[in-house]
Symmetry: C2
Subunit: 428 residues, 2 copies
Amino acid sequence: MQRILSDQLTPHIGDPVRIAGWVHRRRLLKSVAFLIVRDAAGLAQVVVTDPAVRATVEALSEETVVEVVGTVVANATAPAGVELTDPAVRPLGPPAVPPPFDLYRPALTATLPTQLDNAPVALRHPTRSAALRISAAAVAGFRAALDARRFVEIHTPKVVASSTESGANVFALDWFGRPAYLAQSPQFYKQLMVGVFERVYEVGPVFRAEPHDTVRHLAQYTSLDAELGFVTDHRDVMAVLRDTIAGMLDTVGERAAAALATLGVELPAMPAQIPAVHFTEALRIAGAPAEEVDLAPAHERALGEWARREHGSEFVFVTGYPMAKRPFYTHPDPARPGHSNGFDLLFRGLELVTGGQRLHRHSDYLAALAARGEPVEPYAGYVDAFRHGLPPHGGFAIGLERFVARLVGAANIREVTAFPRDLHRLTP
Amino acid sequence: MQRILSDQLTPHIGDPVRIAGWVHRRRLLKSVAFLIVRDAAGLAQVVVTDPAVRATVEALSEETVVEVVGTVVANATAPAGVELTDPAVRPLGPPAVPPPFDLYRPALTATLPTQLDNAPVALRHPTRSAALRISAAAVAGFRAALDARRFVEIHTPKVVASSTESGANVFALDWFGRPAYLAQSPQFYKQLMVGVFERVYEVGPVFRAEPHDTVRHLAQYTSLDAELGFVTDHRDVMAVLRDTIAGMLDTVGERAAAALATLGVELPAMPAQIPAVHFTEALRIAGAPAEEVDLAPAHERALGEWARREHGSEFVFVTGYPMAKRPFYTHPDPARPGHSNGFDLLFRGLELVTGGQRLHRHSDYLAALAARGEPVEPYAGYVDAFRHGLPPHGGFAIGLERFVARLVGAANIREVTAFPRDLHRLTP
């Protein structure tokens, strides 16, 4: 008899079936025992009345892997309206050591550090696994949206010869006797690949040696990067980003509906056009001094409230950030000196995505580095490539874990990361 | 006027259109000049007769980014049967420095090291970009095949606290003052995640400090990993692998047909069931001594010929490899002591995929490590998780670059890798 999953029971009412999974919970009442089996699809209730089977069930510890053969019976009071009766129960392995917290309670009561220390079992809790299912769906949506727009997926080096994008916060390693660094982003590679495919994306790990211990920083995270050529300016990039996020939300809704329900999350609506405000206007809306060169968290919150109030949108673009606060490869705004064609996308008052138009002329790179007093040499392999013809281009990067954390309302990014890496954590 | 791509010209015959791309080639004849523009979709021929436009075209160097507005005219002798006439030609950037090789010739004549040194431009050659398009399609097919079978995508740490899978060939790094290592595979993490989702996959970089300089080793490559629980034995894994490779080939055929044509590659047929031979039988077929514990390259070639001759298959499974040659987490064959439930998949006489059933009982891990004289401590975070109940499971890993190299018949894996990393190469 082929195994079926717990969400496939209803069509089999009256039939004998075989299920398998983990002992999620046992309820040993006087005249009957209930065995709740958890599998990839959810929970199944098994009703035990036979004394010999009950003895087997009593000896099972939580998380032991079992197989159950029984008859599917409709029962309006059981989960999903069905349960298994007359079961034969067989362990598929030795009795499990129960985890140091109860997985059957609606919420994990263990502290986050305890959960993270015991990640292999903590992630089995429906709330933790739901976040990872949403994450998987979000990435699938990212790729589908860009595939449909003729983007090509690339894979770029994660070990580089110079700590390019910013001198600080890089991990150093020994590469066959030579100094090397973990890549902080695929920024340069995705730009170079615009010269090959015009439109590219990459889903991959990036590494930041963040010395801060905060709820929103990880030392390794999954970056969803896209870059496209032949743009007029940053607004073409913003349009693609809007469609990409819309595609991510759609796919989460389609593929992870049960996970959303588990977490009680409602997906935000994506407006046909996300409202966009220039940085100088953003300062005014947020009530910040006109001479500020960046937005503080309180300003971002104020902008989020403004977007919801004035435009009914949970999303808002801020454009024209001061050049001084953007990386050297940022394209300036030709019409407003000192301001850039770089943007941030805020979601519910928090920065979610950074992007913009990049420089595309070799001479502009030389000038930009000179203006910042930086040498060309560490960037040579990257900057030299611009001598060979690159079109006007731009792109964006979405931090996957940050996206999911904001979507599900997680207080700490580690709640939506399977095995986080940070200042303190290198295991499991 | 919105830009269109070079493969969208035919529906616009008689219309003015705007295209953009790179100057691929110029042919300056006496009475007419031809400008070949390359974009993401291919090549477009522009016919220039006006003297002023001709002067512009004469001043353009190869790889300069240009925009052309012209009228689409049918011409059976032009590429794709159409060309642009009466053009206005406008550079979108400064004149490009031509690369140190001709991109317009059918094959890149530069040596592979020269190509790799100049990767940002070498990859623009249709043969090099075709391989990367096939690679992108193969990954999309991998994911689609597994998504359809309820696998969940995961993202696992690339920096780990102990050099677990094999002591040698790891890159060491400094993690906030602590020793750490680049992950050689997601092996342990994908096994642990079977406890969460039953079926998982990951597409990501893995790192091997290979001290060899060979045509088939990279120090970073993209690993396509899958793992599934509730298997009877390795044959369930082989069945999923067969379907996964079939899905990869199908998607390559659908999404990268033009790239296959560029490289003159015909996709192999995937049999409904891949022939499988036990290791001891494989030795006999290959004419190798019965006491051998591994297959030499010549043996694999002989098996490839045997599979084609006897089964009309380009693929063949070898099962039951001796335990001594497989990693400690390999499940033994209960019926044949000394042999494993591990397998290799050979493609055209070369090993393409390694996989197998894994141990799933905590006590078996302790015994396996003890039998090899290895301490448990470096593996503790991994081995301990098996105390909490994991079902019988197994999986496989496909090296993406190796898969593509064999599919397209590349002599060196670096020909199908955008920016390879190896013993000697850390740039670009």
